[in-house]
C-alpha cells in the first residue's frame, strides 16, 4: 500500500481532491476516496445495520459490487453503469443521492473523484491505520543535508514539493527551543554561553551532550507529564456541581517519576491500565492504576447511582480509545460505530474490562471515592520502613532485656496495684447487674435497654453481657454517637462474623438518601474489628478494618474510639490496651452520623449476631487517648489473669511486672511503644489515592441498548475489536491486563503510531497525524505516513523507550532548522506541515508562567507533592461554587515556596480552573484531550500585563537586572538575553532604552511604591523605588515580548 502514499504536494495542501491529468498515479482509496464516502454516504450505507438504507453498504466491496435487481452500486471500470455515479449525477430529486434532506451534498469535484475511482477499477484498501506499521525503506532524498532517517523522510516530501529546508538555527536558538520543549524551562545566559563555546570546540558532540543533560533533568518528567495529564483528565477535584477536592497527586507524581526514569512506553501503558493485576504488584503499580480513576465523579444528592457508575466505566473506555489507540470508541456506545470497524458489541466487550470495580455512581463528596488506598510517598515509605525496622530491633532489645525475667513469678502483678484510676469516670453507660436486672451505673434511675436483657455477674470481669440473637437496643439518650465516644469492653469472641454495636437501620429503602446512616463496630469472620461511620452507605462512609485479629475463645480487652469527626483517621482500635494498625477502605463522610445504638446485633434480622460475650462494658462520651487506653487495658488484663491464669496473658503479665522492676525493660518497652505510636500516626497521615481493583464476584456486563444504563441487552465478556487484526494474546487473562498485553503487541497497528505521533506533536506543534486522538476513518491522513511507520517501528525496536527517540528527533536537521520561512515556502505550505523550517509556537500555559518564574529567579524547583495554590483572585469562587463547606470550595492561597512552584502543581478545580491557565488554552480536564488549541486573544494580553503573579515576576526580573553589575545597556542586554537567549539588535536595544527612560519619567515615589507592592514578596528596599519600578516595567515588557512567549 505504500506505493499509493506517494502523492503530490498540491493535493495535500489543498486538503481536497483536485482532478489530475491522465498521467497522474491512480487515486488512493484511503486518502482521496474514502473520506468522501465516509462523510456523505456511510451514515446510511455504512456498517451500522440500524441506520442502513436499501441494504446497501458502500464501506466494503462485497455489498457495493453486488448486483441487485440487475443493478450494482459499483461496476468497476464502468462509472456509467454504476448506480452510485448515476444517483450522484441525476437531476431527479427522488433518485438523487445523498437525499437533499440529508443536507450532505457533494461538490462537483468530489463526484468527479468518485467517478474516476470507479473508472480506475474501484479498488478498496483497508484503512491505513488498521494495517500494522511496515518497516519502510528510507528514502534517498536529502542526501546532501540529511543527518538521520527522519530527515530523509522529510526530505522526500520537501523534494517532491520543490522545497528546501531552511538554514540551521543558531545554537542559542536551538538550545532555548529544546530546553523549553524537553524541560519547560529556558536556559540561563551562562548555560547558553557555555553551550555556544562547546559547539565551537566540539561541534556536533556539544549538541548530543546538551540533549543528554536535558533528558537527565528531573524537570524533564514535569514538562512531558503536562500532556499526559490532559490525556488522563487529571484534576484535583471530582467535577460536577459539588466539585469537591480529591487526592490524586500521588498518581501525578508517579507519571513524573516514570517519565524521568524513561519507563518503556509498553510498561507505562500496562501499569496504568492494569498495574493492580501484575504479578507481585508493588505500591507504585497500584498507584499507577489511578489513570482509570481520574474521571469526573458525581456526588450530587439524589442521582441514580447506576446511571453515573456506567458513565465512569464509559469514560474509561473513551479514554482507552483516545489515549492509546487514537479511536473514538465512544461512538459505538449507542450503536455500531458509523465509520470505524467497532461494533456496539465490541464496545461493551472493552467496557467489560473496566466494569469490575467495586465503586458507586454517587461518591466523592468530601474525599476520595472508593476504591482507594493509602499511598505513602517515597520519603514516607522510607520512614515507614525505618519505623518497622526500629520496632523489630526494639522488640529484639525487649526480648533480650526480658531474658533475665524468664522465670520470675508473675504473681507480683498483684503488688503493682494496676487500676483504672479516674480514667473511666463519668461514663455515659456502665453496664452493671442491678437489683432487678441490668442497670447503668452512670444513671441508676434509668433502664439502659429498651427491652429486657439479662446480665451475668462475674466477680473478676464485672457484668457479663450475653447478647441475645436480636441484639439489645440501648435507650435513645444512652450515648450520642455523633459526638466523640469510646467503646470499652472485655470481649470473648467465639468465632464467626458478628455485630458488636450498630446504630444503622439497614431495613430502610436502599435508594433513600439516609440509607445506612449510623455507626457500627463489627467483628469480621477472620476476627478483625471493622468500624463503620456512615451517612449514606456505602457512598458516604468511613470504613476501617484492624490489621490484627481477635483471638477466638480468649478474653481480651477491646477499645474503639471515634473523635466524632469526618475523617476515618478519627477512628482508632485498641486490643489489650495497645493500638493496632488498620486498613482504610473508605474515607468520605461529610458530617457526623449518630443514631440509637444496639448491642450484639443489627436492627431487624441480623444473620450475624455477635457470638461471644462482652464484660464490663462502658461507653464514654469522650475519646480515651492511647496512654489512657493502655492503663485501662492493663488493669483489665490484670484482673483477667488473676481470675484465670491464661497462657496467652502470661508473657504480658511477666512483662508488666518486669517493666516496673527493671529499668532496662522499662526503657526497651518505652522505646518500642514510641516507635509503634509513631508508625500508627504516620499511617493515619498518609495521603490516599484512588485505584482500580477487581471485584471478587465479577459483575456481568451487558450491551446497553442505546447506551442507556437501564436498558441491558445481551451479556458480553472481555474481548477486543476483531477488525483491528490482532487477536487476544494467547493465555492472557480476560481482564485489563490481557487488554494491555493486546495493546502492546508489536503487531498492534495503532499503539506505537499513536504514541510517536504525540511525541511529534510535542516537538513540531502538529502531529504527523493532525488528529492525534483520531486515527480512524474520520481522522486526518498522516502528512508523512512512512515516517510515522518508521518511528513506530523504531519505538518498538528500541524497547519502547522514549528518551532515545526524542534525542534522535531533536538532533535531526529538521528540528534544528531556523523558524524563519520565506514567503514562497509559506504560501506553498501555510501550516508548515512539510517542515521547510521549524514551527514557531506560542508556549503552553504552564511553560509561560514557569518561564517567567524561572527568569525572574522566583521559581521553586521541588518536584512532586500535593497541589499548590498560587495567586488567584479572591472573588473567583464566589457566586459560583456550591454553597457547602466541602473541601475544594475555597481557595486558600499558598504561602512560602508553594507560591512559586511549577504550574503543573497548581490546584486544578475542574469547574473553575485557574484563570491564567484557561486564558492560554488549557482544556477543562473534564475528559480526555489529546491536543490543545493555540489561540491568540485580548485576555492573554491582560493576563501577562496585569496578573499579580506576572507583575511580581516582572519586579523580580527588574530587581535581578538592577542588582547585576553594569550600565543600562548591559543590563537591558542581559534582560533581553534572559527572555530570548539571544542578544538584542541595536534597534531592539534602542527601544528598550526608550522604554526605560519612559519608566523613569512616569513613576514618582508614590506610584513606584504601589507598583512594587504587587504580590506577596517585599520589594528590595535597598534599591531606589522609582529606579526599581522603572526596571520592573522593563521586566514586564520583556516578559510580554512575542519572542518571549513563543519558542522559535
Amino acid at each position: 500500500m505504500h506505493a499509493t502514499f506517494r502523492l503530490t504536494l498540491v493535493l495535500l495542501v489543498a486538503g481536497g481532491c483536485r482532478l489530475m491529468a491522465a498521467s497522474e498515479p491512480a487515486l488512493d482509496f484511503n486518502r482521496q476516496v474514502r473520506p468522501i464516502l465516509a462523510e456523505h454516504c456511510f451514515h446510511c450505507h455504512g456498517q451500522d445495520p440500524k441506520e442502513r438504507k436499501g441494504k446497501l453498504r458502500l464501506d466494503e466491496p462485497t455489498s457495493a459490487l453486488a448486483v441487485r435487481d440487475g443493478h450494482a452500486a459499483i461496476v468497476p471500470g464502468k462509472p456509467l453503469a454504476s448506480e452510485l455515479i448515476k444517483r450522484l449525477r441525476t437531476s431527479d430529486l427522488d433518485d438523487l443521492m445523498p437525499p437533499p434532506d440529508a443536507k450532505r451534498p457533494l461538490t462537483p469535484e468530489q463526484i468527479t473523484v468518485l467517478e474516476r475511482w470507479v473508472a480506475e477499477g474501484a479498488r478498496y484498501d483497508r484503512h491505513w491505520s488498521f494495517v500494522p506499521p511496515a518497516t519502510p525503506v528510507i528514502p534517498q532524498a536529502g542526501a546532501d543535508w540529511a543527518r538521520s532517517p527522519v530527515d530523509r523522510f522529510i526530505a522526500a516530501r520537501l523534494t517532491s514539493a520543490k522545497l528546501m529546508p531552511t538554514s540551521e538555527a543558531a545554537p542559542h536558538t536551538w538550545l532555548r527551543r529544546v530546553s523549553l520543549d524537553l524541560i519547560g524551562l529556558p536556559p540561563e545566559p551562562a548555560v547558553v554561553d557555555a553551550f555556544t563555546a562547546d559547539v565551537t570546540k566540539r561541534g556536533e558532540a556539544a549538541y548530543g551532550a546538551a540533549v543528554d543533560r536535558l533528558l537527565a533533568s528531573p524537570h524533564y518528567g514535569e514538562r512531558q507529564a503536562e500532556e499526559w495529564l490532559d490525556i488522563a483528565r487529571y484534576a484535583d477535584t471530582h467535577g460536577f456541581n459539588n466539585d469537591s477536592a480529591r487526592s490524586m497527586w500521588r498518581w501525578r507524581d508517579w507519571v513524573i517519576e516514570a517519565l524521568n526514569a524513561d519507563m518503556p512506553y509498553d510498561r507505562f501503558l500496562t501499569t496504568q491500565l492494569a498495574g493492580d493485576l501484575l504479578p507481585n504488584a508493588t505500591l507504585d503499580d497500584h498507584i499507577a492504576t489511578g489513570f482509570s480513576r481520574n474521571h469526573v465523579i458525581n456526588s450530587e444528592g439524589g442521582i441514580i447511582d447506576e446511571e453515573y457508575r456506567v458513565e465512569y466505566v464509559a469514560d474509561r473506555v473513551r479514554t482507552l480509545g483516545l489515549a492509546f489507540m487514537g479511536l473514538t470508541l465512544e461512538c459505538a456506545r449507542c450503536h455500531d460505530h458509523k465509520y470505524d470497524p467497532v461494533s456496539q458489541k465490541d464496545y461493551y466487550q472493552l467496557f467489560a474490562a473496566f466494569n469490575q470495580v467495586d465503586e458507586h455512581g454517587e461518591d466523592g463528596r468530601v474525599a476520595n471515592a472508593r476504591p482507594l488506598m493509602r499511598a505513602p510517598t517515597t520519603a514516607q515509605q522510607r520512614q515507614l520502613a525505618g519505623l518497622i525496622a526500629g520496632i523489630a530491633s526494639a522488640d529484639q532489645a525487649l526480648t533480650t532485656s526480658m531474658q533475665a525475667h524468664a522465670g520470675e513469678p508473675w504473681a507480683a502483678l498483684n503488688d503493682l496495684g494496676l487500676g483504672d484510676g479516674d480514667l473511666l469516670n463519668k461514663p455515659a453507660l456502665h453496664l452493671i447487674v442491678g437489683a432487678d436486672g441490668p442497670a447503668n451505673a452512670a444513671r441508676p434511675d434509668a433502664k439502659p435497654f429498651t427491652s429486657s436483657v439479662t446480665l451475668a455477674d462475674d466477680a473478676a470481669l464485672g457484668a457479663v453481657f450475653i447478647p441475645p440473637a436480636t441484639g439489645a437496643e440501648l435507650t435513645k439518650d444512652a450515648i450520642d454517637l455523633a459526638k466523640p465516644w469510646s467503646f470499652i469492653t472485655v470481649i470473648r469472641w467465639n468465632g464467626g462474623a458478628g455485630t458488636l454495636l450498630s446504630s444503622i437501620n439497614w431495613t430502610t429503602n436502599r435508594a433513600a438518601a439516609s440509607y445506612g446512616a449510623g455507626n457500627e463496630i463489627l467483628v469480621r469472620v477472620d476476627g478483625r474489628i471493622e468500624v463503620r461511620r456512615s451517612q449514606m452507605w456505602p457512598t458516604y462512609a468511613a470504613q476501617v478494618v484492624a490489621e490484627q485479629p481477635l483471638t477466638a475463645g480468649a478474653w481480651q480487652h477491646l477499645t474503639v474510639t471515634s473523635d466524632g469527626g469526618r475523617n476515618a483517621a478519627g477512628v482508632r482500635i485498641f486490643i489489650d490496651g495497645r493500638e493496632v494498625a488498620s486498613d482504610l477502605l473508605a474515607d468520605d463522610i461529610s458530617g457526623s452520623p449518630g443514631g440509637t445504638a444496639r448491642l450484639g446485633a443489627r436492627q431487624g434480622a441480623d444473620p450475624h449476631p455477635f457470638n461471644g460475650r462482652l464484660a464490663d462494658l462502658r461507653l464514654l462520651q469522650r475519646v480515651l487517648d492511647p496512654v489512657a487506653v493502655q492503663t485501662v487495658g492493663d488493669a483489665a488484663l490484670a484482673r483477667l489473669v488473676r481470675q484465670a491464669p491464661d497462657a496467652r496473658l502470661l508473657p504480658w503479665a511477666r512483662m508488666t511486672v518486669a517493666r516496673q522492676r527493671d529499668p532496662a525493660v522499662a526503657s526497651a518497652w518505652a522505646q518500642r511503644e514510641a516507635q509503634h505510636q509513631a508508625l500508627l500516626a504516620l499511617q493515619r497521615s498518609l495521603p490516599t489515592t484512588m485505584v482500580m481493583s477487581e471485584m471478587t464476584e465479577p459483575r456481568p456486563t451487558h450491551v446497553l441498548l442505546r447506551g442507556a444504563y437501564d436498558a441491558p441487552g445481551d451479556v458480553v465478556t472481555v474481548d477486543v475489536p476483531i477488525a483491528l487484526g490482532v487477536a487476544w494474546p494467547s493465555g492472557a487473562p480476560r481482564n485489563r491486563l490481557g487488554l494491555a498485553r493486546w495493546l502492546t503487541d508489536p503487531a498492534h497497528p495503532l499503539t506505537a503510531r499513536v504514541a510517536v505521533n504525540r511525541v511529534w506533536q510535542r516537538l513540531f506543534g502538529i502531529g504527523l497525524v493532525r488528529t492525534a486522538e483520531d486515527f480512524g476513518l474520520q481522522g486526518e491522513f498522516p502528512s508523512h505516513p512512512e515516517l510515522l511507520d518508521h518511528l513506530a517501528r523504531r519505538l518498538i525496536a528500541g524497547g519502547w523507550r522514549m528518551k532515545s527517540l526524542i534525542k534522535e528527533l531533536v538532533l535531526s536537521v529538521t528540528y534544528r532548522q531556523s523558524s524563519r520561512r520565506e514567503a514562497a515556502a509559506i504560501s506553498a505550505d501555510p501550516e508548515d506541515r512539510l517542515l521547510a523550517g521549524s514551527p514557531r509556537l506560542r508556549l503552553p500555559a504552564e511553560v509561560l508562567r514557569d518561564q517567567a518564574l524561572a527568569i525572574s529567579g522566583l521559581l521553586r524547583h521541588r518536584v512532586g507533592g500535593p497541589s499548590v495554590f498560587p495567586y488567584q483572585p479572591d472573588e473567583l469562587y464566589k457566586t459560583v461554587v456550591v454553597d457547602a463547606p466541602y473541601p475544594g470550595t475555597e481557595w486558600v492561597p499558598s504561602t512560602g515556596d508553594d507560591r512559586f512552584r511549577r504550574s503543573l502543581y497548581t490546584f486544578w478545580k475542574r469547574t473553575v480552573p485557574h484563570p491564567v491557565m484557561t486564558a492560554f488554552d488549557v482544556p477543562d480536564r473534564e475528559s480526555c484531550t489529546a491536543r490543545r488549541a493555540r489561540t491568540n486573544t485580548p485576555l492573554q494580553s491582560l493576563v501577562l500585563l496585569n496578573e499579580p503573579g506576572f507583575v511580581e515576576a516582572a519586579r523580580a526580573l527588574g530587581t535581578r537586572l538592577l542588582r547585576t553589575e553594569g550600565d543600562d545597556r548591559s543590563r537591558l542586554t542581559l534582560g533581553f538575553r534572559l527572555v530570548t537567549a539571544r542578544a538584542p539588535t541595536t534597534r531592539e536595544l534602542a527601544v528598550l532604552e526608550t522604554s526605560l527612560a519612559r519608566g523613569r519619567a512616569s513613576f514618582i515615589a508614590e506610584s513606584a511604591k504601589r507598583y512594587l507592592a504587587v504580590g506577596t514578596l517585599p520589594a528590595d528596599a535597598s534599591l531606589a523605588p522609582v529606579e526599581l519600578a522603572a526596571w520592573s516595567a522593563i521586566g514586564s515588557l520583556l516578559l510580554n515580548l512575542d519572542a518571549t512567549i513563543s519558542r522559535d
Binding site: 467535577g239 460536577f240 456541581n241 459539588n242 469526573v296 450530587e300 439524589g302 441514580i304 473514538t328 465509520y339 470505524d340 429503602n509 435508594a511 433513600a512 438518601a513 439516609s514 486522538e773 476513518l777 481522522g779 524563519r820 509559506i826 514557531r840 472573588e875 457566586t879 459560583v880 461554587v881 456550591v882 454553597d883 470550595t889 469547574t911 473553575v912 480552573p913 484563570p915 484557561t918 477543562d924 473534564e926 488549541a933 493555540r934 489561540t935 491568540n936 486573544t937 485576555l939 491582560l942 500585563l945 496585569n946 539588535t985 526608550t994 512616569s1002 513613576f1003 506610584s1007 504601589r1010 507598583y1011 512594587l1012 504587587v1014 519600578a1029 516595567a1033 515580548l1041 512575542d1042 519572542a1043 513563543s1046
Partner: protein, 476 residues
C-alpha cells in the same frame, strides 16, 4: 483604572499603529481554524434576533408556583400521585425513600394579565405588566433529573461535559458585532437572602471543543469587571500606552526577523485589550443613568452583584451589540421551605426582569433581542417530605416544566403547550430543550443542523442529532 488623563481617542491616535476599530475587527479573526460567519454560510436565512439575553434561574424554579396553575392539585391535596400519572417516571434519590408521593398544591394565587390574559403567580406581579410581550412555554421537557446534567443540557445541548455552550456556538457562528467588547458575557448572582445552593460550572460558558476564544467572559462586580482588566497599581494610562507602543515596536522587529504573521494578530490583540480597558469601565459606569432607570430596575440595581444590577448591565450590553448576554441567578432548588425562599427569589428577579423587557422595548431593542427566563427543570407536583398547605418543598421534575420568552421574533402574549391536571406530564405540544435551542438558533438566522464543528471525527452541533424549530413560538 483610576487614571483617565487622556481620552481614548487621543490614546489611540498616539499608539504606534493607531489602527481603527474596523481594521482591528478583521485582525481578530481566528488564527487556527479559519471560520467566519460568511465561510459558514451564515445567516442561513434572515434573522429575527441579533442577540440573546438569557436570564437563567439556576436550581429549577417550580413551574407549579409560577407559571402553570393547577386547581386539581388543590382538590387532591395530600392524595397519592396516581400511578397512571407517574407512568414509571424515575425519581431522584431525594424522594426515592419516601413512603408516598403526596400531591402538593401551590399556596400562591394565580391571575390573568394583559390583553392576552396570561396566567401568572402572585409572586410575579411585575412580569404581569409585560404579559403581552411574554410567551410562556408550559410544555418544556428534559431527560435530566439532576442539576448538573440538566443545566449542562440546557446550556450545551448535552448532559455530559465537553460540548461548547450556546453562547460559544453563537460566537463561533455569528462572530462579534463589537470590536471593543467580548461578544459573550456572563454574570452570576445569588439570592439576597438564604442559601444559593447548587454551584455553577465554568463549562456552562465554556467553549468545549471550539477554540478557547469563543468562551464567555465573566463580568464581575468589584474593581476588575473583567479579570485582570485594570493596570497594576502605580501604572498610569499614558505609561501603559507607552509600554504598549514599545511592545509593538519590539514585536514589529520580531515580525520582520521571524516572518511570522501570527505576530500581527498578537499586536492587534494587545490593542483590543487596551481598548477593553476603556470600553468595559464605560460599560459598567452607571453614573449617568437617570433616576428613571433606578425607578424602573429598583434600588437593588445600585448594588454591584445583584440580579437587578445585572439586568441593567444586560441592557447596556445589548445597546453595545454584545451577542450573547448570560445571567445566572441561583437559589431556586426548593426541596424544602419553598414558602420562605420562593418569595425571596421572585422579589430578586421579578421587577428587574420586567424592567429589562420594558427598557429594551422603549429603546427599540426588544424586537431584535431574544430574552429567555427559566431554569434547568421544574418541580414535582408531589411534596418532598409531607404535603402541607403552607410549608412545603418539591423535588426536581424534568418531564414537564415552563419557561418564559420575549422579544427577538417570539410571539408575545401567548401560552404554548399544556401539562395534565397535575402539571406532571405534557398534555399537548411538547417542546424538548433541543427544540428550544433549535428555535433560538432559527431566530438568529441559523439552521441548527448546519452550524457544525468537526471534532474527534464527527460533526457536532448544539442540538446533537435532535431538535425541531417550534413554529408555534414564532411571531408571524
Amino acid at each position: 483604572m483610576s487614571h483617565h488623563p487622556l481620552t481614548r481617542r487621543a490614546l489611540l491616535a498616539r499608539s504606534a499603529y493607531g489602527l481603527g476599530a474596523a481594521a482591528l475587527g478583521s485582525l481578530l479573526s481566528p488564527t487556527l481554524t479559519a471560520a467566519s460567519p460568511s465561510s459558514l454560510g451564515i445567516p442561513h436565512h434572515p434573522a429575527k434576533a441579533k442577540r440573546v439575553i438569557c436570564l437563567f434561574q439556576s436550581g429549577g424554579p417550580s413551574h407549579l408556583d409560577l407559571f402553570d396553575p393547577k386547581p386539581e392539585l388543590d382538590k387532591r391535596f395530600d392524595q397519592d400521585l396516581p400511578d397512571s400519572v407517574r407512568k414509571g417516571q424515575r425519581i431522584t434519590g431525594m424522594v426515592a425513600g419516601q413512603a408516598r408521593l403526596a400531591l402538593q398544591p401551590s399556596r400562591y394565587k394565580f391571575s390573568q394579565h394583559g390583553q392576552s390574559g396570561l396566567w401568572l403567580s402572585e409572586l410575579l406581579p411585575n412580569l404581569g405588566t409585560v404579559a403581552d410581550d411574554l410567551c410562556v412555554v408550559r410544555s418544556l421537557h428534559t431527560e435530566a433529573i439532576n442539576h448538573d446534567p440538566a443545566i449542562t443540557l440546557f446550556q450545551t445541548g448535552h448532559q455530559l461535559p465537553g460540548r461548547p455552550s450556546m453562547g460559544a456556538w453563537l460566537d463561533y457562528g455569528l462572530g462579534s458585532a463589537n470590536a471593543d467588547l467580548p461578544s459573550f458575557v456572563v454574570m452570576t448572582s445569588v439570592p439576597s437572602k438564604g442559601a444559593p445552593d447548587q454551584g455553577l460550572l465554568a463549562r456552562l460558558w465554556g467553549s468545549g471543543f471550539l477554540p478557547g476564544r469563543h468562551q464567555g467572559v465573566a463580568l464581575r462586580g468589584g474593581a476588575d469587571p473583567v479579570l485582570y482588566l485594570g493596570d497594576p497599581p502605580g501604572i498610569t494610562r499614558e505609561h501603559r500606552r507607552g509600554m504598549l507602543d514599545d511592545l509593538v515596536a519590539l514585536n514589529t522587529q520580531e515580525r520582520e526577523r521571524s516572518n511570522d504573521s501570527e505576530i500581527d494578530t498578537r499586536i492587534a490583540q494587545h490593542e483590543m485589550a487596551f481598548r477593553m480597558q476603556t470600553s468595559v469601565p464605560e460599560l459598567v459606569d452607571l453614573s449617568n443613568e437617570p433616576q428613571s432607570t433606578w425607578d424602573l430596575y429598583g434600588e437593588e440595581a445600585k448594588k454591584p452583584g445583584t440580579f437587578a444590577r445585572h439586568c441593567l448591565l444586560a441592557r447596556r450590553l445589548a445597546e453595545r451589540d454584545v451577542r450573547f448576554i448570560q445571567l445566572y441567578h441561583r437559589g431556586w432548588d426548593h426541596h424544602g421551605g419553598l414558602q420562605d425562599r420562593m418569595p425571596v427569589g421572585c422579589k430578586d428577579v421579578d421587577q428587574p426582569t420586567a424592567a429589562l423587557i420594558k427598557d429594551l422595548k422603549s429603546r427599540g431593542l426588544l424586537d431584535d433581542t431574544l430574552v429567555i427566563f427559566g431554569g434547568e427543570f421544574g418541580r414535582t407536583c408531589y411534596a418532598q417530605g409531607g404535603a402541607n398547605r403552607e410549608k412545603y418543598g418539591r423535588d426536581h421534575h424534568g418531564r414537564a416544566f415552563s419557561i418564559a420568552l420575549a422579544g427577538g421574533g417570539i410571539k408575545g402574549g401567548t401560552t404554548y403547550g399544556a401539562t395534565d391536571d397535575f402539571g406532571f406530564n405534557i398534555a399537548e405540544n411538547p417542546v424538548h430543550i433541543h427544540d428550544l435551542q433549535a428555535t433560538f438558533m432559527h431566530l438568529l438566522g441559523i439552521d441548527h443542523e448546519r452550524l457544525t464543528f468537526r471534532h474527534q471525527g464527527r460533526q457536532f452541533r448544539l442540538t446533537d442529532v435532535h431538535g425541531k424549530v417550534v413554529e408555534g413560538l414564532l411571531r408571524g
